[in-house]
Amino acid sequence: MAERAGLYPTVRGDLVQMNAGDVWKYGMSTDPAGRYPAQALGTLGLRMDIQATGTRPQMYVAEKIQLINYAVSNGSLPPGNRIFK
């Protein structure tokens, strides 16, 4: 999520205006703290919000629902998501 309002890079190579608290990327991992730490959080001005924990199938479903809801509301994927998994 964005920590502050400002311009953030997207995985599509452009910049997008975001407000504090806007989602930059939905993701899932068996090791969330280890997957994105210094690189993403250190470079991009993002923070990590752990929204749910569960089994892998549960998290796949949760992630897909979040992506669909975001795309319906905003007309595109979050700036950090490249594809619908």
Binding site: L41, G42, L44, R47
Partner: protein
């Protein structure tokens, strides 16, 4: 040395902690960023971790960030040498603290963690100098 202060949190405490970390970053950057603390360290990254009130479970999210190393900057493509420190924060404490008291509590946890870090930081990195600078900056503001 560049400074980043960020967080890994459960949803219900994310905004509360974010309001503290952004304020902390704004106050400390003018103190830390003009200086070189040695060891070739280009960035000091602080991760406040407030995911679970069970300390063992919360610690799982700390381990990966209590380390020094290098990463590729996603914007410039350059390698950045960094020292990271994860500061565990009990989400229940965050939720039960008066909002005006939270910054001081969280700052205290950072100073405590830097006083006795969970891992051996690079030998030539002057942690004591950084700690002294943070202490005086936080006391002054």
């Amino acid at each position: 040395m560049k400074l980043r202060v960020t967080s890994i949190t459960a949803s219900e405490v994310g905004e509360l902690i974010n309001s503290v970390t952004t304020g902390l970053e704004d106050r400390l950057r003018p103190v830390v960023e003009p200086k070189d603390y040695g060891g070739g360290v280009e960035q000091f990254a602080v991760f406040f971790v407030s995911v679970d009130s069970d300390p063992i479970e919360n610690e799982r999210y700390c381990a990966a960030n209590n380390r020094a190393g290098r990463y590729k900057d996603l914007l410039t493509g350059k390698m950045v040498s960094f020292v990271g420190v994860a500061v565990p924060v009990d989400p229940q404490v965050v939720l039960s603290s008066p909002r005006e008291a939270l910054p001081k509590q969280i700052e205290g946890l950072l100073l405590d963690e830097l006083e006795s870090p969970a891992y051996a930081m690079p030998k030539k990195f002057d942690r004591q100098h950084l700690l002294a600078d943070l202490r005086s900056a936080l006391a002054a503001t």
